[in-house]
Amino acid sequence: MAMKDFWQKHENLYFAVSNKKVIFGVVIFLSIVILSIIGPIVTPYDYEEFAGMGYQPPSKQHWFGTTIMGRDVFTQVVYGLRSTLLVGFIAGTIASAIGLVVGFVSGYFSGQAADESLMALTNIFMVIPSLALLIILSAYLPYRGIVTQSLIVAATAWPWTARAVRSQTLSLKSQEFVNLSRISATPTFRILREDIAANMFSYVFMVYILQFNGTILSSVGLEFLGLGPTRGISLGLVLQNAVNWNALHLGMWWWTIIPGLILTMLIVSLYFINTGLDEVFNPRLREM
């Protein structure tokens, strides 16, 4: 009985754990996270070490093969994953936070000066191709760490969140229960917190997932151009090295295809979680 009560109380959680897309996404996502955690412990090599013969296809000693210089691709990938996930986490959090605050304020005070100026700023950032801006910023910063990279990626990632959150706030604001709070003289902050923010929780969660994805994609793109962190290894850097060494022409598919495939699977899994959660939070979509 207790079990049944629990599921009744947490209805959304029930639909989440029984949604195929969510399960599929979470399983892949967690496997990749676990890979990044235990991978560096399991592997006997260091990512800069000459682990064996170069030019080796995947084998028992080298699960993802070796690079042309004899470095272990598996080791590079698992260390690179750590850095990629970390950048996604930091930059995704910052970008979501900026987008949320801007969208929230702008939506609540719609039509006022604060809204107009914030939306103008948002539209400006939206139009500028983020990678071009990132290239300009990175090119002039001779030393970049993971945090610097996350900051500049986040600085260009937030605009769509701000726009989306603004329109969500706008439509929530005109709901009757918010009007009721307003005419019963509830303080503004309390309306924001209890009526609007509380109802946007699910939306915010999904925004965060998409930001995580987006920031990972832009930071990997930067790394691929050689504008990522100046030290350490990352997935983009692994791929850049592979391209620089002409790995594909030499038939070394394991060096380029595998790291990118893992990255793509990571992003696919998050998309699946996002779509699945969309169905969980919007009962209308559940039947599909």
């Binding site: 103008a120 139009v127 500028i128 191709p129 983020s130 071009a132 769509w160 391209v243 594909l248 022409h249």
Partner: protein, 329 residues
């Protein structure tokens, strides 16, 4: 109508101001003092002294107060003077960009338009056919999740290396002489195909997912159910849903232009396709700051123009915009 376009134009104008200001400010305030590095590099080049005297004094005016330096920058910009490239010395940046920009247009324009049209059609199809949906959706998700450069590598590996159909780099073979000969045009198309295909396929997934969700939403609305109860054919209902679903997709296109251009930069890197993106990254490798800035400026101007074109299209296909622009929900 005029107000709608006017408001957009103001935003784009401010964006342009912002981009130029950024272009001016970053090299001046960035750590590592890029300008003095440039100065020292120019002095060792042949004829560099003269350039220093004419161009640097005019553009940078390093001895003047900051505000005057800023206006000087604008003056030379309007005179079409973007500086001299170091890596392709003594070619002016503007000439280099003029040669490169055509490559961006010929891969981006067809890729954007075709993937948008076909993606929307496929998405609508997937939205009404459940069997096809189960098969197509994972593919769409895979496409839209792929980083452009990785997908470019996969395309390059499969079509270029394993199957050996297409050449894997540059815009045309080194042995070819550019001209309107049949052989050259064929060679050019063969080189063009893989960068185009990469941009086309990666974008396709996103449009299809968007349209599929719109169609599912539309076919569940009251008007669709009402039509159904009147005995309207599925095809008719789908057509109405499609027309409603297409509007957010047009907005989506405007929003994702920046991402698409970023994708083109990365794709050009993989195929060494000599557009602005490739040029920009080469310029970074050689610390050719004027060229970096020129490319940045042109990429932004391109996106701004495209945005404006989309705004006009949106206005034409959705008359409601004229009336409801003030209260966007």
């Amino acid at each position: 109508m005029g107000r709608y376009l006017g408001k957009k134009a103001i935003i784009y104008f401010i964006t342009f101001l912002f981009a130029v200001t950024l272009n001016w400010a970053v090299p001046r305030f960035a750590p590592g003092d890029p300008i003095s590095m440039l100065l020292s590099r120019f002095t060792v080049l042949e004829g560099g002294r003269e350039i220093l005297e004419s161009f640097f004094v005019k553009t940078f005016g390093l001895d003047q107060p900051l505000i005057q330096q800023y206006f000087g920058f604008w003056r030379s910009l309007f005179a079409g003077d973007l500086g001299i490239s170091i890596s392709q010395y003594p070619k002016p940046v503007l000439d280099i960009i003029r040669d490169a920009i055509i490559y961006d247009i010929i891969i981006l324009l067809p890729a954007i338009i075709l993937s948008w049209i076909i993606g929307n059609k496929l998405g609508a199809f997937s939205g009404v056919k459940k069997k096809a949906d189960n098969f197509l959706m994972p593919i769409f998700y895979f496409l839209t999740s792929s980083p452009y450069f990785w997908f470019a590598l996969v395309v390059s590996y499969v079509l270029g290396i394993v199957l050996g159909i297409f050449p894997t780099s540059h815009a045309y073979s080194a042995t070819m002489k550019p001209g309107w000969t049949l052989a050259f045009i064929w060679d050019f198309i063969m080189h063009w195909f893989m960068p185009f295909l990469t941009l086309f396929l990666v974008q396709l997934g996103g449009w299809a997912i968007g349209m599929r969700n719109m169609i599912i939403y539309e076919t569940n609305t009251n008007y669709a159910k009402y039509m159904e109860s009147l005995g309207a054919s599925d095809r008719l209902i789908l057509n109405y849903g499609y027309r409603n679903g297409i509007l957010p997709q047009v907005t989506g296109l405007a929003i994702s232009l920046g991402t698409i251009v970023s994708g083109a930069v990365l794709t050009q890197m993989v195929f060494s396709y000599p557009g602005l993106g490739y040029l920009m990254v080469q310029a970074i490798k050689q610390n050719d700051y004027f060229l970096i800035q020129g490319c940045f400026l042109f990429l932004i101007v391109m996106v701004l123009l495209a945005n404006f074109a989309i705004d006009i299209i949106y206005m034409l296909i959705d008359p409601r915009v004229r009336h409801s622009y003030s209260g966007e929900v």
